[in-house]
Structures are given as C-alpha cells and as structure tokens.
C-alpha cells in the first residue's frame, strides 16, 4: 500500500477543533475573545516575570490545523538584511516555532510574528489537549521574551548573530 497524501481528510474540521480549543482554554482558565472573523484572541503569560503576549488562534482554509500567532513587534520600512538572516536562522534552529515578517491587521503595516501550529488529533480525546495548548502558549511567550529584543535590533542593523547568542544563552 503506497502513501497517498490527503491533508483535508486528516486535518479534521476547523469548527470541531475550535470547539476543543475553547474547551482547553477554559480548562486552563485563560480568558479569550472572539473577533468578527471568528479568530480567538488571548493574552497569556506563564508567570508575572514574563511580559504577556497577545496570541491569535485561527484556521486556514477551514482545515483543523490550529495556528497560534503572536506579535513580537512592528517593522518600519524595508526588512533589513540582518533581520532576514536572523529569521531564517531561527526557522532552521527552532523546531516548533517559526518567525516571519507578515502583515498586521487592518493594513497597519508589517510586524514580526512568531507562530506555533498545532496539528489536531482525530484519534480520540480532544483534538487539542490543554497541556499541548499550555505548552504552545508558554513557548510563544518565551520566544517573545528571548527573541523580541534581538530581532528588533537586527531590524535596526545589528548583526543577526545577536539572535544566535540569545538562542545559545537560552539553551
């Protein structure tokens, strides 16, 4: 039997995953809001010593892959060469998070985002387990704490190796 890729059949339904996501957020006692596009917004911090991060949960193409996206900072003007290098470095080094320069809501310009995508489980139990959700949110907050400042400096012209140093310090 050869492998036949079929994403839509295995990613689950976005509505069902969103329900499980809401249940998980309630279990974690994380308050959330829903906007007009039915995206969920939360403010999360694992401890008072970390600055909270605003995270948006959304689904692409009505598929059940849940995208958790946080904003690290806005980018003014062209993306600096060093920032490009830094983002690509992080894409290679970090397994579970990806950084990119993307558009902000309502055309307010562009910003540096960090994202973690949760693959839903359709094999029984909740599609997204509360522990997985907490791990994702904590991870996003930690990424912001560690990399927001070095990435901002990269956009200002500092070397992308600042990000490398920050990652080394984290490890």
């Amino acid at each position: 039997m050869s492998f036949v890729p079929d994403v839509s059949a295995h990613a689950g339904d976005a509505a069902r995953v969103a329900n499980d996501l809401r249940a998980a957020l309630k279990e974690l006692k994380v308050p959330f809001k829903e906007d007009g596009r039915r995206d969920l917004w939360v403010e999360y911090t694992p401890s008072p010593s970390y600055q909270a991060i605003a995270v948006r949960f959304f689904f692409h193409d009505r598929l059940g892959v849940c995208c958790a996206e946080g904003l690290l900072g806005e980018v003014a003007g062209e993306v600096h060469e060093e920032l490009r290098m830094a983002i690509n470095y992080l894409a290679l080094e970090l397994s579970t998070f990806r950084f990119y320069v993307g558009d902000l809501a309502q055309g307010r310009g562009r910003g540096i985002h960090v994202r973690h995508d949760l693959l839903p489980s359709t094999g029984g139990g909740p599609a997204i387990h509360p522990r997985e959700l907490r791990q994702a949110l904590t991870g996003l907050c930690a990424q912001k704490a560690v990399f927001a400042d070095p990435l901002r400096r990269c956009q200002e012209g500092a070397s992308w190796r600042n990000v490398k140093d920050a990652l080394r310090a984290l490890k």
């Binding site: 050869s2 079929d6 295995h10 892959v65 993306v79 983002i87 359709t122 094999g123 387990h129 500092a158």
Partner: protein
C-alpha cells in the same frame, strides 16, 4: 529504541511509508517520487520534525526569496520554509509536539502530507523566485489566480505525483533534468530588444579576465598620426593594412607615419623640471614633519610600554587613554566604521553605558573602552551599574552589567554588594529563573561572608530565595562567641513568622545554638521523624545538649515513635542533664521499646548517675517489669563504671533510709559487673532489716554460684553464720563459709 521514536516509526510504516534508521534520525520515503524526508525525534522535548528539500541548488538567499518565504510562512498552515545555506537548499519542515500524548495516525499523516503538499505546490514557484525569474509578488498573484490550493481540493492526483517522472534519478533534484525544458531567461540577454537589438547595436567588447577594458592605445596613435607633419608618402599596398584595416587610419595615413608616431610617443620627453621644488613645497615639509613625529611617537610608546608601564602597575593609563582617544584621534575612514560607533560618540555617561551593554561592540577593546568612558562620565559608577544590573528589562543586559560590576571589583565591598542585592530584590529579579545576578551574588556572599550587621540588616528587605539564603548564612555556629550566637539568634527569631514548612529560620536558630525551648519539638512535629533521625539529627542533638528540656514535650508525646526519638536524642546528647531526663522519664515509659532503648542508652552513656534510677527500674513492681526489661537493666548496671556505680548505690544503704530504698540498692549491687558490688553487699549483711540481709546473702550465694571469688567475705560470712538473728541468713552464710573454707564456721 526509545518509545517516541518507536511509535513514530511504527506509525509511519503503517501509513505505507518506507522508514530507514539514520544517524540523524529517520529517513522516510513515500516510494512515489523517491524524494527522501528526514524525521528527527527529540525524546526529551517530545518533538517530531520532518524536513524535506524542495529546491536545490540555491546559491543566493535573495531579498525576494526571503520575502516569498515570509509570505508562505504566514499563509501556509503547519509548514515552515527555510533556506539552508550549507546544503544550498530550500527546506520545508513540519513539526509535531505534545508533552503527554503520542502522535496519532492522522497527525503522522499530516506531518508527511503537509510537507509533500508544500513541495508540490510551492516548490516550483520558490524555485523560480530563487532563480530570479519571477518576483515574490507572483506568488501572491498566483495564489489569487489559482484559487484553493490543489492539495486541499478534491484533486484525484495529489501534487507530489508531479515528481513521478524523476523516480529513477540517482540523486533526485527538485530541478527538472529534462533538456527540453531548459528555460532561457532574460538574465542572459544584454539588450532590451532581444537578439535583434543586439545585432543592431552590439554590446561592448568583453572584459579581460583581469576585469580591465581594452586600452585606447591605437586610438591615441591615430590622433598622433593625424597630427604628424610627415609628408604623406605614395600609397603602397601593404599586406598588414589589408589584413587588418584597423591599423590603417581613416584619411589614408601611411604605415610609416604610424611608426613615427609610435616612436614619438615612446620617446617623448617631458619638459625639464626643477627636482627640488617638491622638497621645498609645503606638503613635503608637512609630510616630513609628520613622519618625524610618528617615529618619535612610536619610539616613545615602545619605551613607555617596555620600561615605564610595568612600573606603573600594568596597563591602566594606556587603556584609559586608548578608551578616551580611540574615537577622537585615530578615527578610521567613516565608510569602514561600525555605525554604532558613531552613535556611541554622541552618548555620554549612563546613556552610553546602557547602549554599550544593550548592544556591545564586537571588538572587546572598544567595548571595554566605551564602558570605561561611560563609567568615567557617570560620576558614581555604583548606582549607575545597579540601575542596569537590577533594573534593565533584559536578562542578558543585566548579566553584562553584572559582569562589569565584578570586573570593577565592586563585589569586594560588602556595602555595595548588599546595595545591588537589595536592588535585585526590589525589582523582583530573584524570582526570575533566567536571571543569574541574584544567584551569583548569593554565591559570592557564601564565598565571602559579609559582616553580621549587614546580614541582619538585610533581613528586613530580603524576600524569597534571597531571604532564605541570608537566613542560612546567619544560622552558623559561632564557637566561643556566645554573644554573637545570641545576636544572630535574636535577629532570626524576629522572622520566625516567615518560616515555611521547611523551618529554615528555626533550623538556622538551632545551628546558632540558641532557639526557642520548643524548637526541637516543633521541628520534629513539622519535619517528621525521618528528618529528625537523618538530616536533622545532628542539629537537634547539638540543640539538646544546650537545651535538654526542649525534648520534654517529645517525651510526653502520644506517638511511641516520637518518644523513642526523644530518648535517642537525649542519649546522643549524653550530658548529665540528658541522662537525668532519660532516667526519670524514659525508664518509666509505658512502652517497652522506649524503656529498653532508655536502658541501653544509659548503658551506652556510662554515667554512674544512672545507677540509682536503674536500680529503681529493676525493682519496681507497679506495674511489674517485663523480664526483657529487667535483663536489659541488669546489663546496663553491669556496664556502668564499677567503682562509681557502687559508690552511688552505697549511698542508699544508710540505715536511716527507708527499708525499701536499702533493699533496691542491694538488688542493684548484685548486678554490678564482676561481683564489684560484693563489698557493699557484705556491708548490707549488717543491715538492721532481716529482709535486706536475706536479699544480700542470697545475692552473695548467686555470685558464688556464678563462679565469683568471695574469699574476701569469709570473716563476714563466719560472723553472720554465728550471730545473725535470722536463721535463714545464718544458714546461707554458713553454707557459703563452708564452700569457701571447707569447714563449718
């Protein structure tokens, strides 16, 4: 094989994929296009990452490519695009992670399918962007034109089938190897109108390998030739001119004229010049002066470095001057300068310090110079560094500031150390797991303990881990200095309310040797018996030495184990006061185990003061003692120092004392080791009470039966056998006399 890796392998194989183990992880192949995918399993983090090459080779990570990848990373769910410079490839990766669950079959399917879908849908477009054939905007436009992604539609043939034609390739590449599909791009065309334009307007001649343009020598020669005054000779056909029309100038100039022009160019001499003008010029003089100064300065610097600087105690002055003058005197060309240097030049004092610590210059010398300059400019460097080391929002910057703090030797002074520690606490940095300043400061306090007053004063503002570290530092024994122990204990006692379930304050007080009377009882009840018998035993024992009454509540506890522990602690203390508590309370305990332990403990201590309590325990009849306890008490009496023990018991043989007391003393004397109690027993044979005398003579008979030598009592036995008022006593005494002497008394 590890559990997660095994589960992933099994799950991928169940999906019909070929899985092979590799040093880097697992190599997965779908058997369709032959393209391999690498799966890395991190057991500790519980992360599964699948990577697939989607474009190779890519030699340049261009801004357009970066923008395209940014766009895709934002728009694609579950996949991450990245450029791997070492592999010269674009990668797409999918990731699964969960702290508690194993990946389900659909999640494993998604891991592979998302990567394949991305490779099929986005790979070719990224390849075109990487080649420079199109811009990243075409991705956006293509997305708008194509509508839903093919992999997510109901397409019968999944996108990765497009690679099927390359299945037999030895080394699969994402680029098409079909020659018929080689693209001719505008990048190789130098004219806007294409081939026709190039034909009409040929491009300039190619450069030489050196990169230089061809010289204009022949054109200049033409000019010379045209201006030559030579009469034009008769035109003669020349093969060279015909063969190479370039050498025949327009206007019919002859080859001879050309040769003469060459000669004139080669031999043309400049007008005579005065060679001394240069030396007399202002520029030359300035150059010479500068050179002289450089030589003198260099020599002076060498002399200073080699001979003077070592006597000035190292590099201080030179380094300071370097730091101050590097930006003023020896500025390199501005186009080679780090832009941050220009920014630093505009800053002073605290602003410069913060800027340099936030974004340190890569050159360590420059970094040190700017730090030095900043500290010179702030006036008092202590508050300036404290502000950054404790107050800055970034962990790294705080760590750098603390590094400067240490380099400046500020940790050598107790007052400055405590100031920094206080600032760290006030900013709550001691609660930040990533922050190292508080940890290092406390470590330095342990290495070099500050004064007692500083520690006691710091208790007022210390919080959390810092508070308990200070408590730990204060809770140290001060041998020979009772006043210091009292000061420390009193200071700690004021914070007993902040004690936790671990009793750090109370334990610290115990270590000083001065603690509340119920400290031992509170600790045992709070920390448990296991702690008291293990980790806390030494502290408690030392405390009991000074405060034997502190265990009194334990000796009255309902729990038999607690009472047993109390006896053990008192025995461990071994002081007369402790022996007294064991003898008075332990030997009277309701539980046999406790009494046995008390008897053994008294024997272990070997203090003769225990003789009389043991004697009482041996004879007590309310309630009657168990035989095991009687035996243990006898053994304990036998282990006490003989002379001291007998002396103690003899004190209770005085005729003025109650009969019962004399009787108990006699009983105990019979248990003294090696018949050591015989002299006192012989003395007891003259007791006015017949019961006491009977017990004494019976014990003598027991001793004789046990092989003891009673010859020293022959005279007494004879006298008793003849004159004692009690017939039973006379009879036993006569038997003993006869056994020793061999005849009747």
């Amino acid at each position: 094989m590890s559990s997660l890796r095994a589960a992933v392998t099994k799950g991928l194989e169940a999906l019909g994929l070929t899985v092979e183990g590799d040093r880097a992880g697992l190599v997965v192949s779908d058997g369709v296009d032959g393209q391999k995918m690498v799966v890395r399993v991190d057991e500790n983090e519980r992360v599964v990452r699948l990577e697939r090459t989607i474009c190779y080779p890519v030699d340049d990570f261009s801004p357009d490519l970066s923008r395209a990848m940014d766009w895709l990373n934002q728009r694609r769910a579950g996949v991450c695009f990245a450029y791997h410079e070492a592999q010269r490839a674009l990668l797409v990766a999918t990731t699964w992670t969960s702290p508690s669950r194993d990946p389900s079959p659909n999640q494993l399917h998604l891991l592979v399918a998302l990567a394949l879908e991305a490779a099929g849908r986005d790979g070719p477009q990224l390849e075109r962007v990487a080649e420079g054939e199109t811009s990243w905007e075409s991705l956006v436009e293509g997305e708008a034109d194509d509508g839903p992604a093919p992999g997510r539609s109901e397409a019968a043939d999944p996108p990765t089938r497009a690679f099927a034609g390359r299945a037999d390739a030895a080394d699969p590449s994402t680029r098409s190897l079909n020659v018929a599909h080689v693209r001719t791009t505008t990048r190789f065309m130098d004219h806007a109108d294409g081939p026709d334009g190039e034909a009409a307007d040929p491009p300039p001649p190619p450069r030489r390998p050196s990169g230089l343009q061809p010289t204009r020598r022949f054109e200049e020669l033409d000019e010379y030739a045209a201006r030559g005054a030579e009469p034009e000779p008769e035109p003669t056909p020349a093969r060279g001119a015909q063969a190479n029309p370039e050498l025949t100038p327009r206007g019919g100039m002859s080859r001879t004229a050309l040769q003469m022009a060459v000669y004139r160019v080669d031999n043309e001499k400049a007008d005579r010049v005065d060679m001394t003008v240069g030396r007399r010029s202002l520029g030359y003089r300035a150059f010479r002066g500068g050179l002289l100064l450089a030589l003198l300065g260099g020599g002076g610097y060498a002399v200073y470095t080699a001979f003077i600087d070592p006597f000035l105690g190292g590099r201080g002055l030179v380094e300071q001057l370097k730091g101050l003058t590097s930006g003023l005197i020896s500025q390199p060309p501005t186009d080679q300068l780090d832009p941050r240097i220009a920014e630093r030049q505009t800053l002073e004092g605290q602003a410069l310090l913060v800027a340099e610590l936030e974004d340190p210059l890569p050159d360590p010398e420059l970094h040190r110079a700017y730090i030095s300059r900043a500290l010179n400019g702030v006036g008092d460097k202590v508050p300036a560094l404290i502000e950054v080391a404790a107050g800055h929002r970034t962990v790294e910057v705080r760590a750098r500031a603390y590094g400067v703090w240490v380099d400046q030797g500020l940790n050598a002074d107790d007052a400055t150390r405590m100031r920094l520690l206080r600032a760290v606490v006030e900013h709550g940095r001691h609660e930040d797991a990533l922050d190292r300043v508080a940890v290092d400061l406390i470590a330095s306090l342990r290495t070099k303990e500050p004064g007692e007053e500083a520690l006691i004063a710091a208790l007022r503002w210390a919080k959390g881990s810092v508070f308990y570290a200070l408590v730990d530092l204060l809770g140290q024994p001060t041998p020979g200095d009772d006043a210091a122990a009292k000061r420390r204990s009193e200071a700690l006692g004021a914070y007993l309310a902040r004690d936790t379930a671990e009793f750090p304050v109370l334990r610290a007080m115990l270590r000083t040797g001065i603690a509340p009377p119920d400290a031992a009882a509170r600790l045992v009840q709070g920390k448990g018996i296991e702690w008291a018998r293990g980790e806390g035993r030494q502290q408690l024992t030392e405390f009991v030495v000074e405060n034997p009454d502190s265990v009194a509540p334990l000796l009255r506890a309902e729990d038999e184990e607690v009472r047993l522990l109390a006896v053990e602690l008192l025995v461990g203390a071994g002081t007369p006061a402790a022996v007294d508590r064991v003898a008075r309370l332990g030997l009277r305990d309701a539980a046999l185990r406790v009494r046995l332990r008390a008897a053994r403990g008294l024997a272990q201590v070997g203090n003769a003061e225990a003789a009389w309590p043991l004697a009482l325990a041996l004879s007590r009849r309310d309630p009657p003692p168990e035989q095991a306890f009687v035996d243990e008490v006898r053994r304990a009496l036998a282990r006490l120092p003989v002379a001291a023990c007998v002396a103690k018991l003899r004190e209770h043989l005085a005729p003025t004392l109650p009969v019962g007391e004399r009787y108990y003393a006699v009983v105990a004397l019979g248990a003294v080791q090696n018949a050591g109690g015989l002299p006192a027993l012989l003395e007891a044979l003259k007791d006015p009470d017949a019961q006491v005398r009977r017990k004494a003579i019976d014990l003598c008979a027991e001793l004789q039966g046990g092989g003891a030598n009673l010859s020293s009592g022959v005279a007494t036995f004879r006298e008793i056998a003849r004159s004692d008022a009690d017939a039973g006593v006379r009879q036993v005494a006569a038997r003993l006399y006869k056994a020793i002497v061999g005849r009747d008394p």
